[in-house]
């Protein structure tokens, strides 16, 4: 593989993102026409921006790698990642927009009228964000190692530094057009190679038998009901609490626009996930050796060069690397922006200086974790973050929007229950499972039992604590559920 092209692709994406963030939009937005200036963001743009921020290393590299290693079972990930937006559409998007809150902690405080509940929510948001950034940095490490031959840490460090500097300096502040651009870049970067490769392999016989490439045992026949259900619970409900996705809904002018945006996101994601899936299938046929080497997640980066040696392969590889880096940078910067907002507002008094400190902090804490731990599959680790989110923020959000009876104590105890249970299962699962192998699946995919438990604790404590129901509950819920046009 040509390292020079890889360097060039990485540098180009980094530079383009930074420059657009700093200067490009300043120029393009300047106008003396009020009609142009007061046009709100169209749902299409906003949906693209959500896609740009959402499609992370797990989507771009992880899914293909997972399908390569585990076959059709891996398909549940793209299904869950997409269908989460259906939950968002049905239960959260419009009411959250109507609440007028900008972040999840803002929503908690307004709904429950409690500082404690806000602080607990903020802490959880920060933890979730940090652990979501970790796989992005690990993905960067993998991409840099495979494509340039540099040591792994170089990739993580580069992404963390770029994101910290650009966000702290004031660029890339979740600007809609930058993020929308990132989505279309990612889609192009994965769709073009897939289409070229498909045309190419149309006439080539695979080097191994179809039955070996797609063994029935790795297909639907091997489905474990508990794991599948648990994974779906995690992915469907986890999407509801992702901090960097939810702040984007604020850009919509009203609740209806928020719903329309979500529908478009569903379409865009469905289209996008076709391509990593095809990549995974091609990988099973043409690069099964990657599984043994432990670099299955690098499939998307390696395959173009294998099937198309020469300059054509180099160009496709450069394109894929550019897409991958767009994924690392956009997701990480989106997360860092929203985390820095939460940290600076709750701990550092909301100043601009505080935001900068928080931005640097939010990039380097995950960097340390990423350097200290080994990647065990990008899609899998992001899946665990989803399980944690689903067990903590999702019960609070859902009940907060749909149930009058929620009280601050109920919400806090539910969030803490979910955090302790799912946190213990995710971090300590390996050790516990070694002692009691029978419960291993329950620890590896905890969402199916931690989410209901967290919900139950929230409801029970709220019932017991009925007297402390916030006074403004009825007015606030009426506001959440009344369409703007009838107000």
């Amino acid at each position: 593989m040509n390292a020079a092209i890889s360097y060039a692709a990485i540098a180009a994406v980094a530079l383009a993102s930074a420059l657009i963030g700093f200067y490009g939009l300043r120029v393009s937005r300047t106008t003396s026409d009020f009609y142009v200036a007061s046009r709100t963001v169209r749902p299409w743009w906003n949906a693209s921006a959500i896609g740009g921020e959402y499609l992370s290393a797990a989507s771009f590299l992880g899914i293909a790698g997972l399908i390569l290693t585990s076959g059709a079972g891996g398909l549940w990930f793209p299904i869950g990642y997409t269908a989460g937006y259906l939950m968002l559409l049905l239960f959260v998007a419009a009411p959250l927009r109507r609440s007028g809150a900008y972040t999840i902690p803002d929503f908690t405080e307004a709904r429950l009228e409690s500082r404690t509940a806000r602080l607990v929510t903020s802490t959880l948001v920060i933890v979730i964000g940090w652990f979501y950034i970790v796989p992005q940095l690990q993905g960067a490490a993998l991409a840099v190692r495979i494509t340039t031959g540099l040591p792994s840490w170089a990739g993580s460090l580069a992404v963390a530094v770029i994101v910290a500097v650009v966000v702290a300096a004031g660029g890339m502040r979740s600007i809609t057009f930058v993020q929308a651009f990132q989505f279309w870049l990612k889609l192009t970067a994965i769709a073009v190679p897939v289409i070229v490769l498909l045309i190419l392999v149309g006439g080539v016989e695979p080097s191994l038998e179809a039955a070996d490439a797609f063994p029935p045992t790795a297909g639907p026949g091997d489905l474990d009901p508990y794991r599948t259900v648990s994974l779906m619970v995690a992915l469907l409900l986890g999407t509801l609490g992702l901090p960097h996705v939810l702040v984007r809904f604020y850009t919509n002018p009203d609740g209806d626009a928020a719903r329309r945006t979500t529908v478009i996101v569903l379409v865009l994601l469905s289209v996008f996930y076709l391509f990593p899936t095809i990549f995974g299938l091609l990988g099973r046929a043409f690069a099964p050796d990657l599984v043994a080497s432990g670099d299955a997640d690098a499939l998307v980066l390696v395959l173009p060069d294998r099937l198309l040696p020469g300059w054509g392969g180099d160009v496709l590889t450069a394109l894929v690397i550019a897409g991958a880096f767009a994924a690392f940078l956009s997701t990480s910067s989106g997360l860092v922006v929203s985390l820095a907002g939460v940290i600076s507002q709750d701990l550092l008094g909301g100043s601009v200086r505080g935001f900068r400190i928080a931005a640097v902090l939010s990039s380097f804490v995950p960097l340390i974790v990423a350097l200290a731990t080994e990647s065990t599959g990008l899609a899998g680790s992001v899946g665990l973050v989803f399980a944690f989110t689903a067990s903590t923020l999702c019960p609070m959000l859902l009940l907060g929007i749909w149930w009058r009876g929620l009280t601050p104590r109920g919400a806090v105890s539910g969030m803490l229950t979910g955090a302790v249970l799912s946190g213990a299962a995710i971090l300590g699962g390996g050790a516990i499972a070694a002692a009691a192998p029978g419960i291993r699946p329950f620890l590896e995919q905890p969402a199916a039992w931690t989410v209901p438990l967290a919900l139950l604790v929230t409801v029970l404590v709220s019932r017991v604590d009925r007297r402390r129901r916030p006074r403004g509950t009825d007015a606030f819920l009426a506001r959440l559920h009344t369409p703007e046009r009838v107000r």
């Binding site: 979740s174 809609t176 002018p253």
Partner: protein, 411 residues
């Protein structure tokens, strides 16, 4: 780092946190036990505790659930069998034995107490076949009666009569406090209302003059200007809602500038740099337009050859930053300081008004930031939190900007 190390580290952290928590809890328990004090002290604490619990429910006036809760605390405090709270309208809330006969007796006694203005005792009342005594005390807020308390006990001793009287006057003071709270809130609201920017008479005069000058020379233009004027006044005279969105505010600024341009012509140039992300941010009604008006009237009007106004709205994390800049004659910082501090009315009233409202709504640190000097132009900035769940923008009644140019007479 191997997984086991990470695991050990996290287990250590969790165990440590738990241990610290347990120690703190135990320490609190021990300290609490030691400090409970003598019986008399405990009785005082108990009474104060009951009083503070009841206070929250009494303040809002006693009706419905609040009265029931207040009644429970007050009955415990007085140590009587039943307690009835009668509100000014004669509605009775009873804690304890709530027979209909008891309600009737309570109503009668309360009337007697209220008319005499003194505690009133009645003995040997037959309720449900047994005899009981009752004492009623009026709740007097100033000269006005705000209801009464009736305590039932058998027998009613002098101590209870006295205590009931005291409790009634305590309740009265709480009701007064509640009214004070309400009037303070009303005052704050009235202050915001009063500060709500008004169209300056100056502007109306200038605008009408400008329109008049076009009526003969360019009737189409004059008509367009009248429509802009109508748009602008409709927005500014809006009755309800103290908040609006940045987008709505920009539309009103457009109408305003269109009218000013009739006077200034090419001398007034405008540049906008608006991030679409902040268009839906909620801001106080008429909080940006006065800044633009200030820039036109005090910055550019006096400057030969006019100048440029730059309006910027940028996304800044959880805040929206809005600034209005002009390259006009600038303001003397000393004068400006005086104006913002509340002195010398007249010049720059708009700035002071917006500054005061921003501070009132978002807190002291969210006032206007003004950078200016004589001859150096003026830059006025404000920083508004994006998250404002407690303030809703008024209804979106403003027609789109283009509608005023389509030539149709009725809209």
């Amino acid at each position: 780092m191997p997984e086991s190390m990470l695991l050990a580290a996290s287990a250590g952290v969790v165990a440590g946190a738990l241990a610290v928590g347990v120690v703190l809890l135990l320490r609190r328990l021990v300290v609490a036990q030691r400090e409970l004090g003598t019986d008399a002290e405990q009785a005082t604490y108990q009474t104060l505790h009951l009083a503070s619990r009841a206070a929250a429910h009494v303040r809002g006036g006693f009706d419905g659930a609040d009265a029931a809760r207040a009644g429970r605390s007050l009955r415990t405090m007085l140590g009587c069998e039943s307690l009835a709270l009668i509100d000014p309208a004669g509605l009775v809330t009873v804690d304890g034995d709530s027979a209909d006969e008891l309600r009737e007796v309570a109503t009668g006694l309360a009337l007697a107490a209220r008319s005499s203005g003194k505690p009133h005792v009645q003995r040997r009342i037959a309720i449900n076949g047994r005899e009981t005594d009752a004492v009623a005390a009026p709740i007097l807020v100033g000269d006005r009666s705000a209801g009464a308390i009736v305590a039932f006990a058998s027998p009613v001793r002098a101590g209870l009569v006295r205590a009931t009287g005291e409790v009634a006057s305590w309740v009265a003071s709480q009701v007064e406090l509640g009214e004070l709270d309400a009037s303070r809130a009303a005052l704050a609201e009235a202050e915001v209302r009063a500060l709500r920017a008004q169209i300056s008479p100056h502007f109306i005069y200038n605008a009408l003059n400008a329109i008049a000058s076009f009526i003969n020379t360019d009737p189409a233009k004059a008509r367009e200007l009248v429509l802009e004027f109508a748009d602008f006044t409709r927005y500014s005279f809006r009755r309800h809602g103290d908040f609006t969105t940045v987008a709505e505010e920009l539309r009103s600024i457009d109408s305003y500038l269109e009218l000013e341009r009739a006077r200034f012509g090419e001398r007034l140039r405008v540049t906008l740099q608006v991030a679409p992300e902040v268009l839906s941010t909620v801001v106080p009604f008429l909080s940006i337009q006065p800044l633009v008006e200030n820039a036109v009237r005090h910055g550019l009007e006096a400057k030969e050859g006019g100048g440029r106004i730059t309006i910027t709205a940028a996304d800044s994390g959880a805040f929206a930053e809005i600034s209005v800049e002009d390259d006009g004659v600038g303001i003397d910082p000393v004068v400006l300081e005086e104006v913002l501090a509340g002195g010398s009315p007249g010049e720059h009233v708009g700035l002071r008004n917006v500054d005061a409202r921003l501070r009132q709504v978002y807190g002291e640190e969210h006032g206007l930031v003004v950078e200016t000097n004589l001859g150096a132009g003026t830059l006025v900035r404000m920083r508004v939190p994006k998250s404002q769940p407690n303030s809703t923008a008024g209804p979106n009644q403003h027609p789109p900007i283009t509608a005023s140019r389509d030539g149709s007479p009725a809209r």
